[in-house]
Amino acid sequence: MKIKLFYFARLKEALKYSTEDLDLPDEPLTVLKLKAHLAKRGDVWGQMLMGKLKVRAAINHELVDDNAAINNGDEVAFFPPVTGG
């Protein structure tokens, strides 16, 4: 399954990634599973995605929670709580 990932704000700076394409095994995937998968990349990934910081996620431009299912072709984004306005 292929997905496109985006990172914003503090996450983008810390991870030094803005966007990436991922190819994952064709198994049921949720936001939480994807975070756990990415956290294995190393300290900063673990801190940013599975640590104390609040992380919000969007799938195809819709805010979702940790249990949301991710499907082939989805655009998934991770970012801190929003602070616009």
Binding site: F6, A9, V82, T83, G85
Partner: protein
């Protein structure tokens, strides 16, 4: 309904006139404008940079207007939000609502701001004497949004 994300400044008087056009059935226009303050969390702010999630931002703002339209009887609404680098006293965001009656226009405008503050993908980074820092989300904004949950 109008939604714009832009680096350029906006003119609130012009936007209100555009929203009203020549309509004669509008009795109330409520506007909210958010500005860069030179103080945040006790520190002097000299500059603010706004990042956003292109594509999701516009959808999120349109969805906020549609939720307001579903909930209150309003005639039209507009959201303009700036991105990029801003200085203290610069205009950040404009939310306009027109309608027949003031109560619904006030509620819809405040609802839209409370949702924008907690759901629209914008992030602020500010420059203070201590250096650059990401602005922290406020619990009071979550509380403000919570008021609207039925």
């Amino acid at each position: 309904m109008t939604v714009r994300v832009q680096t350029e400044d906006f003119d609130v008087g012009f936007e209100i006139n555009q929203l009203r056009k020549a309509r004669k059935d509008i009795g109330a226009v409520v506007s909210f404008m958010g500005l860069v303050r030179d103080l945040n969390d006790g520190d002097a702010v000299s500059q603010l940079t706004l990042e956003h999630y292109p594509g999701m931002t516009e959808k999120s703002l349109a969805s906020i207007i549609n939720q307001a339209k579903a909930r209150w009887s309003i005639t039209d609404a507009l959201i303009v939000h700036r991105v990029g680098t801003l200085q203290p006293s610069d205009q950040i965001v404009l939310v306009l609502v027109s309608g027949a009656h003031r109560g619904e226009a006030f509620a819809a405008c405040e609802f839209m701001m409370d949702y924008l503050k907690t759901e629209a993908p914008f992030w602020k980074k500010e420059v203070t004497q201590l250096g650059e820092r990401w602005v922290e989300a406020k619990l009071t904004d979550d509380d403000a949004r919570g008021r609207w949950v039925k």
